[in-house]
C-alpha cells in the first residue's frame, strides 16, 4: 500500500470516507474509494493520488474502484475529475469500470468538451498605456458628445424648416411628464429651501435689527440661483433619469434599431420631443419654484419675525428686479436643454443589457448635475461681468 487517507466524523469519531491507493506489479495504480463521499464532511484532497500518478515512472493505467462506496455527491466528482484530468495530461489510461454508473456518466459529461486554454487573460497594461487609453477614451467621449449635440442641432433646424418628424402625442406626453407631474416635488423642495433660506438669514439679520431684509435675501436668492438650480437638480433626477432609462431600454430591446431600419431618425423621433418639452417646461417650473420659495420665506417672516405678509411682499417687490427673474429663467432654460441632451444621449448611446441601462441612468444623473453646476458657474461669472 502506498497511501491511505481516512476522514472521520469530528463529533462521533465514526470513519466516514476511505481512500487507498497502491501500485501493482503490472504498472496499474489502484485507487479505492469507500465510505460516504459527500461534501461538508472533510473529504481527502486529491494531491496524494495526483503526486503518485505524476511520480516517474508514470503508472500505465489508473484503476478507479468504488465497490465499498456508501454514498456520493459532487465531492466525489471533483476528486475524480482532478485524477482524470491529470491522467489525460500525462497520457495515462483511466479504467472507470469500477465507478457507479451515474458517476461514469457525469464524468463523461464533464470531460466531453476539452477546456479552452486559449482564454484571454487581461494582462495589466503599463502606466503610460493606461494614461493613453484614458486620454483616447476621453477624446472619443467628447467627440461623441459633440456629434450628438450637432445631430440634435440639425434636428432642431429640421423642426424649424418643417422637416423633422415626431408624433405630437409623444411631445404632449413629455410635456406632461416634465411639467404637471413634476409640480409636487418642485413645490415641496423649493418651499423648504425658501424656509431654510429665511431661517438662516433671520438668525443673522435679527442681530442688526435688519430682519426685513430676509425678503431681499429670499427673493434675490431664489430668483437668481436657488430656484433654477434646485429645479434643475430635481428634473435631472426625475425626468432626465426617466429619459435615459426609457431610451436605454428601447436600445436594449432593439426598438431604436427598428426605427433606424424604417428610416425614421431616432434623433427626430425620440430626442426632439423630449428636448423641446424639457426646455419649454423648465422656465415655467422655475417660475413656479420662485413663487413657492418666496412663499416659504413669507411663512417664516410672518411667523417668526413679526413681518406682515403685505410688508414682506412689498419689500420683495422693491428688492427683486426683472433682471433677476429673467436671469433665473434663462438659467433654467439652459438647464432644461442640458438635462434633456444628457439624458437622451446617455440613453441612446447605452449598451444592450439590463446593467447597461442602470449604468446609463447613473451616468445621466451624475453628468446632468455636474453640467448644471458648471453652467451655473459660467452664467454667474458672465452675469457679474455684464453687471446683470
Amino acid at each position: 500500500m502506498i497511501g491511505q487517507e481516512v476522514a472521520e466524523d469530528g463529533t462521533s469519531g465514526v470513519q466516514r470516507v476511505n481512500l487507498e491507493y497502491a501500485r501493482r506489479p503490472d504498472g496499474t495504480l489502484h485507487v479505492a474509494l469507500g465510505g460516504e463521499w459527500k461534501l461538508g464532511g472533510g473529504l481527502p484532497a486529491p494531491q496524494g493520488v495526483l503526486e503518485e500518478i505524476a511520480r516517474p515512472p508514470h503508472p500505465q493505467r489508473v484503476m478507479l474502484e468504488t465497490s465499498v462506496l456508501a454514498g456520493w455527491d459532487s465531492g466525489l466528482l471533483t476528486f475524480l475529475l482532478a485524477v482524470v484530468s491529470r491522467c489525460t495530461e500525462l497520457g495515462v489510461e483511466v479504467d472507470r469500470h469500477g465507478l457507479p454508473e451515474g458517476v461514469k456518466q457525469l464524468l463523461a459529461l464533464a470531460t466531453a468538451v476539452p477546456a479552452r486554454h486559449a482564454r484571454r487573460r487581461a494582462t495589466p497594461k503599463p502606466f503610460l498605456a493606461r494614461v493613453g487609453d484614458a486620454a483616447i477614451g476621453w477624446r472619443n467621449g467628447w467627440r461623441d458628445t459633440l456629434a450628438f449635440i450637432g445631430e440634435a442641432f440639425v434636428s432642431l433646424l429640421g423642426l424649424l424648416t418643417g422637416k423633422a418628424r415626431f408624433r405630437r402625442s409623444d411631445l404632449l406626453r413629455a410635456l406632461q411628464d416634465c411639467g404637471a407631474q413634476s409640480l409636487g416635488i418642485v413645490a415641496l423642495i423649493n418651499l423648504l429651501v425658501g424656509i431654510i433660506l429665511a431661517f438662516v438669514g433671520a438668525i443673522e439679520l435679527r442681530n442688526f435689527g435688519a430682519q426685513i431684509y430676509v425678503a431681499h435675501l429670499v427673493g434675490i436668492g431664489m430668483l437668481r440661483d436657488i430656484a433654477p438650480i434646485m429645479t434643475g437638480i430635481i428634473v435631472t433626477g426625475r425626468t432626465g433619469a426617466s429619459f435615459t432609462a426609457e431610451l436605454a431600454t428601447m436600445e436594449a430591446n432593439q426598438e431604436i434599431d427598428a426605427l433606424k431600419t424604417l428610416g425614421i431618425p431616432p434623433m427626430d423621433f425620440l430626442v426632439l420631443p423630449r428636448l423641446l418639452a424639457l426646455s419649454l417646461m423648465m422656465p415655467l417650473l422655475c417660475l413656479y419654484a420662485d413663487l413657492v420659495g418666496i412663499t416659504g420665506g413669507l411663512v417664516v417672516s410672518a411667523s417668526m419675525l413679526g413681518i406682515s405678509p403685505v410688508q414682506y411682499l412689498e419689500e420683495t417687490k422693491r428688492a427683486v428686479g426683472l433682471n433677476h427673474l429673467f436671469l433665473g429663467l434663462f438659467m433654467s432654460f439652459v438647464f432644461g436643454v442640458l438635462v434633456a441632451l444628457t439624458g437622451c444621449m446617455r440613453g441612446i448611446r447605452s449598451g444592450r443589457s439590463a446593467s447597461a441601462v442602470g449604468e446609463a441612468t447613473t451616468s445621466a444623473v451624475v453628468t446632468g448635475i455636474v453640467n448644471i453646476v458648471v453652467a451655473t458657474a459660467i452664467i454667474t461669472v458672465i452675469s457679474y461681468v455684464l453687471g446683470i
Binding site: E255, D257, A258, K260, I264
Partner: protein
C-alpha cells in the same frame, strides 16, 4: 466584420437570389446576428461590400439619402419583436406608413388592420405589446415589417422562444410571404426544423474559424457535405470531427 479589434467573421462571400428563403445558420456566437446587422445597414463592415440588386454601389458606399431609400425596401423582424412599447399594435404598424405619408389617416388605419389580419392578429389593433404573448409579439413585428410592402425581409431568429406549434405556424407564414408576395427572405436561425422546412439556400457560419464553412440548400448540405462540422450541426450530432 469586427467590433473594434475583435474580428467576428472574415472572408465571407455569398449571394442571395431573388424570391428565395435564404438561411444564415450557425451556432451561438458564430456571428449570425452581427452579419444581419451589417446586411440591414445598422453596422458598417470593417472591410468589404454589401451589394443589393438595383443599386449602383455598395450599401455603405452610397450616399445616405440613397441608402435610406434602399432601407425602405427592407422589412426587418427583430429577435424580440422590438415593438415600440408605448404604442398599440396598430400604431406600431401605422408609424412607417405615416412617416412616408403613403396614405391618408383612414387608409393607414385600414392598412394596419389588414397587416395585422395577415399575421392572424385581427382585432388586436388596440392592444399594447406588453399585453400579448411572445408568439403574438413576433407576428405583430412581422406585420410591422410588412407595413411598407418591402422587397426583402430579414428575420432574426423568428422561432426563438416559441413553442414548436407556434414556431411551425410562423414558418408557414414565412413560406406564405414568399409565395404570395414574391419577397426575398433572409432568415437568421439555428432551429433545424425551420431550416429544413423553409430554407431554399443557406450559409453556415462557424464561430471557431470565423467564416462560412458551407453554403447551399440545407437538405443538400446534409446529404452531400463531407465536412463533419456541417454534418454535426445539421444532425445535432456531438461529433464535430475536431477529435
Amino acid at each position: 466584420m469586427a467590433y473594434g479589434d475583435s474580428v467576428v467573421i472574415q472572408d465571407l462571400n455569398f449571394s442571395v437570389n431573388e424570391r428565395e428563403i435564404f438561411i444564415i445558420m450557425g451556432g451561438s456566437g458564430s456571428g449570425k446576428s452581427t452579419l444581419l446587422r451589417h446586411l440591414i445597414g445598422l453596422q458598417e463592415p470593417a472591410r468589404g461590400t454589401i451589394l443589393y440588386q438595383g443599386t449602383s454601389s455598395g450599401l455603405w458606399e452610397m450616399a445616405p439619402p440613397e441608402r435610406e431609400r434602399l432601407l425602405r425596401r427592407f422589412g426587418v423582424l427583430y429577435q424580440g419583436g422590438a415593438l415600440w412599447s408605448s404604442m398599440t399594435l396598430a400604431e406600431n404598424v401605422a408609424l412607417p406608413l405615416q412617416e412616408y405619408a403613403i396614405a391618408d389617416a383612414e387608409e393607414i388605419s385600414e392598412l394596419s388592420s389588414l397587416k395585422l389580419a395577415l399575421v392572424g392578429l385581427a382585432g388586436f389593433e388596440d392592444y399594447y405589446p406588453s399585453e400579448i404573448s411572445g408568439g403574438m409579439t413576433k407576428r405583430a413585428g412581422l406585420a410591422r415589417a410588412m407595413a411598407l410592402d418591402p422587397d426583402i425581409f430579414f428575420f432574426d431568429e423568428p422561432s426563438a422562444g416559441l413553442d414548436p406549434i407556434t414556431s411551425r405556424r410562423l414558418d408557414d407564414l414565412i413560406l406564405d410571404l414568399r409565395d404570395s408576395l414574391g419577397a426575398t427572405i433572409v432568415v437568421v436561425t439555428h432551429e433545424l426544423a425551420s431550416i429544413f422546412t423553409i430554407g431554399d439556400n443557406s450559409v453556415l457560419l462557424d464561430g471557431e474559424s470565423k467564416t462560412a464553412i458551407a453554403s447551399g440548400n440545407p437538405k443538400q448540405l446534409l446529404a452531400e457535405s463531407s465536412d463533419p462540422r456541417v454534418h454535426a450541426f445539421l444532425t445535432r450530432s456531438r461529433e464535430t470531427g475536431r477529435g
